[in-house]
Symmetry: D2
Subunit: 282 residues, 4 copies
């Protein structure tokens, strides 16, 4: 058996993540399931600002069909002069909103030392941001948890490197990894990053892990997000993660790319139709 | 009026192609219409090899719902040692297959001196390949024709440069330009190019010209072409151009990325469902 | 012997361009030699505007050490509304300036039909622009000439594709091909393109053809051109092609990236020192 | 004064790193100075394996002119199945080799919790790897130290993002930041990454911080490293960081791109000549 495993490790740079390693993985996080027939739709503001703000957005996206709530408490920002997030206070707010809405929470962890805070507030899905995709120390410690991990692809990282990063978490014994395509760095500047839509079917061939798409960070502009969301679902994505804010012009973070709740609801109507066309639900 | 035009030229790098310049352009090529509610589906072999080969593939793709036939007579090949195409003889074959099937023909022109051959055989849509997107001499001469031009985006060219290239044709007075996204050069190597799916909605905002997608050249592998085709339609593309061959292992060109006729037919079933989900037909 | 050749063709995608095919190629164009110990330095304005302009710039760059004169008569411009060049009249001006200065002329050909004009004016080096690197029709016709060809790398093209493009010319029997690295399309936007400096030593390993560098189009800004020129020479380039204009603010083309004659002269002093440090002259 | 600062912050996304903020920064680390007339040359093995190995390589590179020693104790590896480094034991080995050679030590820190180990062994320069360039938690904690930080550019990160990452460290009060260009992700695959040589002069315009170049990771192959090193120095780099191993075929990490000590010595001879040509020493 160990020699068997040895052979597999030679055959693939990511033996545990590889398609043949096991049946399609379904990752459950409270109500939301990633990898099921029904799509997982994560929506919410870029950053947690106030409980009122999160609750307002959460109510709107839940009504529109979101199955999980996003919101950044720890914020990786390119500039030290940008809003850095409410940190643990943000986690508290998210937990209180979960209590009121029942929506599971997806929020980013930037450093392993914050793990106790995430556990204390029983955060449902720990997100590893694109900039931390190869923060192997963090990945190893998340591998020791039994909590779902949402792993975003780095902007300069290949599909193979994404799967190798996932392998770090799986290797630690944590089987609940969700992959997320969010755009790569290319020369094209009409969008902030270039959504690599091919990565969805390629990953479906390569791995048993569920794959979702973040059209918000790929686009960096709200007007094309619905089109990207429809494309992602048509290509076979298991879900979406979308930034929504009820008052983007006053958002403390990335307001310029947030969808308004009404636009999100309209997007969800489209997504539902496309999902049905490919044998899924939303 | 001329001062009006002067102002427009300042406002946009592509005043004639710009969204505001006119209503959505519909390009008709015999039965096929690009930009209509019904999608235009171009399918066929990479290269014209024999009349029998083209006729076989044409029959199969027509039965599956293709509305136009592709097939290269003049082939731009990276290597001088690769099959270079049948040239005018290829155009003759395409014209004969059109006679038998009624399918309009889309085929590539590499050099303006071949225009008389294309006119003689009344080729329906003259394709400008990605490698010639900025062959401005060719674009100017196509601008003088009154024949539809299918303009593929260069692998290192931005959306803005694509629209400026289209502007060359429009500026010559030829209003029938169809844009085609076919993947850009990026670091990701699981696909031959990276299909820039965002270019579809971005172009829909920027221009009134119809936009189709070539999933075959973007992918460079057949297995993910159906997923890319579905995504393209979901994102709002007005059509597809797909390589199909009944005997890929003996194809003289790009056999490795061609779909088999049955796979194409299955793809069309999916495409039809996704098209319906976004208010289109196929 | 023919079976020998057959083997080579299998071994390399560019058997005639490959390092092992022959000794280092030296391309002579009047006084300038590409691939010699002494660097070939091509300088001049982006576009030919008037004889006076070209003569002024030519005199200044010659005094500073340039060994060939550049100047565009046929101009590939992204926009049809940009200055398109003086065409044959531009070739005449270049020829007259050559008569007065003795400097060989390097100028771009965009279409094979212009070849007779280039021959009539005995243009010394026919340049194929980056946008035409895979204009295979043009490459084939240049292969039939016995005139040096300067082949610029496409912005989305790999080193391998550049060598395959060169192979088209060599395959036609024209052995005098000079390669030119001029920057590739990447996500970095502090420069217009990203100069792929590694391509110099990689090409030196792969081919016997001389390689020069165009720092002007790579940078798209004059301030860093001297640094890129020094780097190119240090990396082993056989020469440079640099845009110089005596009055950039009134240039009809790319004035924003042109060096002033004095800056070019200062750059040449630096280049001479670096050349000496790597066993070359300038 | 605070309003003055307010203005600067508006004017630049990296007010402390910006060129105008102060005179050229010189970072001293024992004998080595980054940003001085004399280049800083860091050399050594990819990973610390044994004291004997490090000592052997250190002796050879010191004899050839290296002014600092590199060697990874904590190794960020794409795969969890690759050698992960000796961790603190590696720092001990480096410290012992420093005692014997006098060479200051440059080694990577992957996680802030290891800072006490780095301080305990008085590591001279703490390197932040490309994959951690936007690990903002780590950057903030390094900002609180008074130890030089070597910040490598991320493979998908722009020059602006690199300077914003440096700003995190400067903002914490640590003025001793050294920038490092090590190649970016592009479509070109003849090298592992594409060395962005233009970043050197661009950074010299934008910032007062010293800039070095890592030709080893950019190239991913040893044969072209000397050419890239010469180019970097010619372009104005303040130093180099190069992987050297006396027995690459048995190296536990990245042996395939390591220079042999003799090749490094030959490279240094070249680098010295180029340095002299641009008014520097090595």
């Amino acid at each position: 058996m160990s020699s068997e495993k040895g052979k597999n490790e030679k055959a693939s740079p990511y033996p545990l993540a590889a398609r043949g390693a096991k049946e399609d993985t379904k990752v459950a996080a409270r109500g939301a399931v990633f990898g099921a027939e029904r799509l997982a739709i994560i929506a919410g503001p870029c950053a947690v600002e106030t409980e009122e703000q999160v609750l307002t957005v959460a109510g709107r996206v839940q009504a529109a069909g979101a199955t999980a709530l996003r919101g950044g408490a720890y914020k990786p920002r390119s500039s030290p002069y940008s809003f850095q997030g409410l940190e643990e206070k943000g986690l508290e707010i998210l937990a209180r909103v979960r209590e009121k809405t029942g929506l599971p929470i997806v929020t980013e962890i930037m450093d392993a030392r914050a793990i106790p805070h995430f556990l204390k507030h029983d955060i449902d899905v720990l997100q590893v941001g694109a900039r931390n995709m190869q923060n192997f120390t963090l990945l190893k410690e998340l591998g020791a948890l039994r909590k779902p991990v949402l792993l975003k692809r780095g902007m300069g990282s290949s599909v193979t490197e994404l799967l190798q990063a996932a392998e770090y978490v799986l290797h630690g014994g944590n089987e609940d990894v969700i992959l997320c395509e969010r755009g790569i760095s290319t020369f094209e500047k009409s969008t902030r990053a270039t959504l690599d839509i091919s990565a969805i079917p390629v990953l479906k061939k390569e791995t048993h892990l569920p794959i979702i798409v973040d059209p918000s960070h790929a686009a960096g502009r709200p007007d094309i997000i619905p089109a990207l969301a429809r494309a992602a679902v048509a290509a076979g994505a298991d879900g979406l993660i979308v930034e929504v804010h009820h008052d983007p012009s006053h958002a403390l973070c990335d307001g310029a790319q947030a969808l308004l709740p009404d636009a999100f609801a309209a997007m969800m109507d489209d997504v539902r139709r496309v999902a049905a066309a490919v044998g899924r639900e939303a």
